[in-house]
């Protein structure tokens, strides 16, 4: 394990992480990445650098969010960090298992997560439970021997088709109101009855999936947290997700700098109106960076709370704005399909993803209104009814 602990100064954290990466990164990286990455991720995981905020007894370094961000920066600088496909596992699964798991579950799952031996996905949303996630209807019924039989359909599950495990919420009690009859499971995606089918997105990529669960039987040891209290477990995952989808804590060149560079290349920079729109997007990006730094300092080692919704809205607004500006500064390129406009076309078609994924901006505004500003909750007229009496559509 690398010599970094909660008492190490931030400057030292960055210096030691950099030195360790440079000493240990195999020669031939990143060109020969495909051949080298499995071994590298084991080395990285064992060093603690892949999961710096995890407690030391679980293979992490126990450091606060700001130190972890510096480590992530160093890894990004060497293009040596874990890919986005590992985000659900490392950023969401790990913290949820650490908060709620039994000793056996931590022992079984955390090291393979840290060393990229197993990939995870999230099985939360359903065709009938999107923004109203707590109305999910995938059912888990306990058998005589204590095992659970699970059936239902999940959707928008990123990387489910290439995952080993899934973070699953299922209905275990229909006789209580919606939030009180959910249980959380760690589902082995290789079990019979699990069928993940990639869904093609509007940008042509197929990153997320619909997942069909047909009489999948899991042992009781796959349950995370108490029976019927899975909503609370799920909140841990959701908070980590909002905070995690909010960008890097550093003030430096980012999306709008690249956009301005392209605007200078294609000549749009000479148009004062377009230039000013770019500068305004730049200002928005800077204040988000500053806000993310603040969030990481204020967060320390606590779990993220409702304030993550503020950054998630700001981040998705920015992504959308940048994607649209990217199309605006080179309109002909997108229409004519010129080679150097391919990326801008892809970004443009991806513009709306972040404001919907991980909870829509409307839901985030409800969260800010209700949990940050103390406004009255949105009324669900059936909130106190047993789940089985709820209208569903």
């Amino acid at each position: 394990m690398i010599d970094i602990d909660p008492s190490t100064s931030l400057a030292e954290v960055a210096a030691r992480a950099r030195a360790w990466i440079e000493e240990n990164l195999p020669s031939g990286w990143p060109v020969d990445r495909a051949r080298l990455e499995a071994d590298w991720y084991v080395l990285l995981g064992d060093s603690g650098l892949a999961t710096p905020t995890w407690p030391r007894e679980h293979g992490g370094l126990g450091v606060a969010a700001d130190a972890a961000a510096l480590i992530a920066d160093e890894l990004a600088r060497h293009d040596a960090g874990r890919p986005m496909t590992d985000f659900p596992g490392v950023a969401l699964g790990g913290p949820t298992i650490i908060a709620w798991g039994t000793d056996e579950q931590k022992e079984r799952f955390l090291r393979p997560l840290a060393t990229a031996r197993e990939r995870w996905c999230q099985l939360f949303s359903e065709p009938g439970a999107g923004s109203d996630l707590a109305s999910l209807s995938t059912r888990a019924v306990q058998q005589e021997d204590g095992s659970w039989r699970i059936s239902g359909q999940k959707v928008w599950s990123s990387f489910a088709h290439i995952s080993d495990f899934g973070l699953l919420m299922a209905r275990t009690n229909q006789d209580v109101p919606k939030h009180r009859g959910i249980t959380y499971f760690l589902l082995d995606m290789r079990l019979p009855g699990v069928d993940a089918r990639p869904l093609k997105q509007l940008n042509g990529a197929a990153e997320f999936n619909e997942v069909f669960l047909d009489d999948v039987v899991v042992p009781d040891s796959a349950r995370l947290g108490p029976v019927d209290e899975g909503w609370r477990v799920g909140i841990t995952t959701l908070m980590a997700e909002r905070s995690g989808l909010s960008g890097r804590p550093g003030v430096g060149p980012a999306l709008t700098d690249a956009l301005a560079r392209r605007a200078r290349e294609v000549g749009a920079w000479d148009d004062a109106a377009q230039r000013d729109r770019l500068v305004e997007a730049h200002v928005a990006e800077k204040v988000l960076q500053m806000t993310t730094i603040r969030a990481f300092v204020e967060l320390g080692t606590r779990e993220p709370g409702a304030e993550g919704s503020i950054r998630k809205i700001a981040h998705s607004d920015l992504e959308e704005r940048v994607a649209r500006l990217g199309a605006e500064i080179d309109p002909f390129g997108l229409v004519a399909g010129t080679a150097d406009a391919a990326e801008a076309t892809h970004e443009f078609l991806s513009a709306k993803i972040l404001s919907i994924a991980g909870g829509t901006s409307e839901i985030q505004r409800n969260i800010i209104g209700e949990r940050v500003l103390g406004l009255p909750r949105e009324t669900d007229p059936h909130v106190d009814k047993p789940f089985r009496e709820r209208p569903r559509g």
Binding site: D257, E280, K286, V287, I293, E298, I313, N366, L373, G374
Partner: protein, 372 residues
């Protein structure tokens, strides 16, 4: 002091809570309303003296060599946020943020020793007279000849009331320099021109052969004023963040208690979501002002921070002030409700240093020129 932005020291937190407590009982909105109706704020000097004597407000960020406490921009931003929250006005901006900063940055020790000790005590207040025909600090036409100044300065914040002015002028050699002028001196005429924000007086100053003492070396006005502008941009951004925060607090409280259609209006998404957007703006305005305050004065980071904070926070406060009125409905557009007092401050803060195009031009100059 910690070099990590947002890593507040115990002293800094104490200053904030002291100011918040003090300003909570200082009836900022009542004073603003009275000043608006009377056309002047007659109690300003007495309150300033009291604040300076009681909590050392005037001297907080001034150097220890002139009797100040020697703190820096982080503390300045704390004062700004708390003044913005409580709508406190008075001589702080003109005296400490603008004119005293010019005296300190001029490097003129004699001038500092002559003027600043009584400023730190709260017995002398200052104003910066550099704007002439626009709020942007363009090249002055005021002339300096044989130790005397002649010209007109407009939009001078802190007048009537200030005892000493820091004035920009061009001398016979064509150098733009700074000078100190006593407002009581012969050849100084002050005409009040009450602006949109009643919490800080504004006036036109006509100088007709007024005796002036040079401040710092000749020809250094632009260099000194660049520091002053950065200082003011960060202070105002903090004030805007504080004002935005009060808009959110006041409006959320109203949305929790105002009943229509049998329920608090904050239940409705049309209201809730507008308020959420106000919060998103405000949270980021606070980050921007504080981050900027934490950078080394005069560094590229401080310049970036000041420009970004000025741009974001100016719009944030204005939009929040407008949204506060919108969400209060009919009562929001009355003279009787305080919402317009925040709107007035928001517009004054946004306009004080000239149009935002200057900030945007500076930001554009560096944008997309470095490799990622």
């Amino acid at each position: 002091m910690s070099t990590t932005p947002f890593d507040w020291s115990d002293d800094q937190q104490e200053i904030r809570s002291l100011l918040r407590k003090k300003f909570a009982t200082s009836s900022g909105t009542e004073i603003a309303r009275a000043a608006l109706e009377a056309g002047e704020d007659t109690g300003a000097a007495a309150r300033w003296l009291e604040l300076s004597a009681e909590i050392g407000l005037a001297g907080l960020t001034l150097p220890e060599s002139v009797g100040g406490m020697g703190t820096g921009r982080v503390e300045l931003a704390i004062v700004g946020e708390e003044m913005g929250r409580a709508l406190v006005g008075g001589p702080y901006l003109s005296t400490v943020v603008l004119a005293a900063e010019a005296i300190v940055r001029s490097g003129d020790e004699d001038a500092a020793q002559a003027v600043l000790p009584s400023v730190a005590e709260g017995t002398t207040t200052l104003a910066l007279a550099v704007a002439e025909t626009s709020a942007a600090w363009t090249e002055p036409t005021t002339r300096h000849t044989d130790g005397r100044l002649t010209g007109r300065k407009q939009g001078v914040v802190g007048l009537p009331g200030a005892d000493v002015l820091v004035v920009s002028a061009v001398d016979a050699d064509g150098h733009t320099s700074l000078y100190l002028v006593d407002t009581a001196a012969e050849g100084v005429a002050v005409t009040p021109t009450p602006g949109i924000d009643p919490t800080r007086p504004v006036a036109t100053v006509d100088l007709d052969g007024a005796v002036a003492r040079p401040l710092g070396r000749p020809g250094r006005a632009h260099e000194v004023l660049a520091f002053v502008r950065e200082n003011a941009a960060i202070f105002l951004a903090a004030e805007q963040a504080g004002g935005s925060r009060t808009c959110v607090t006041v409006t959320a409280e109203y949305a929790r208690t105002r009943i229509q259609f049998g329920q608090p209006i904050g239940t409705f998404q049309g209201v809730k979501h507008r308020l959420a957007d106000m919060e998103v703006r405000t949270a980021q305005a606070h980050s921007a002002a504080v981050w900027a305050a934490w950078q080394t004065p005069g560094s590229p980071e401080a310049a970036l921070g000041a420009d970004v904070a000025r741009s974001w926070n100016s719009r944030a406060y204005l939009q929040n002030a407008f949204d506060t009125i919108q969400l209060h409905g009919g009562i929001g557009i009355t003279w009787e409700h305080d919402a317009h007092l925040y709107l007035r401050r928001a517009q004054a803060d946004a306009a004080l240093l000239g149009p935002l195009s200057a900030e945007h031009q500076r930001l554009a100059a560096n944008l997309g020129t470095e490799s990622a």
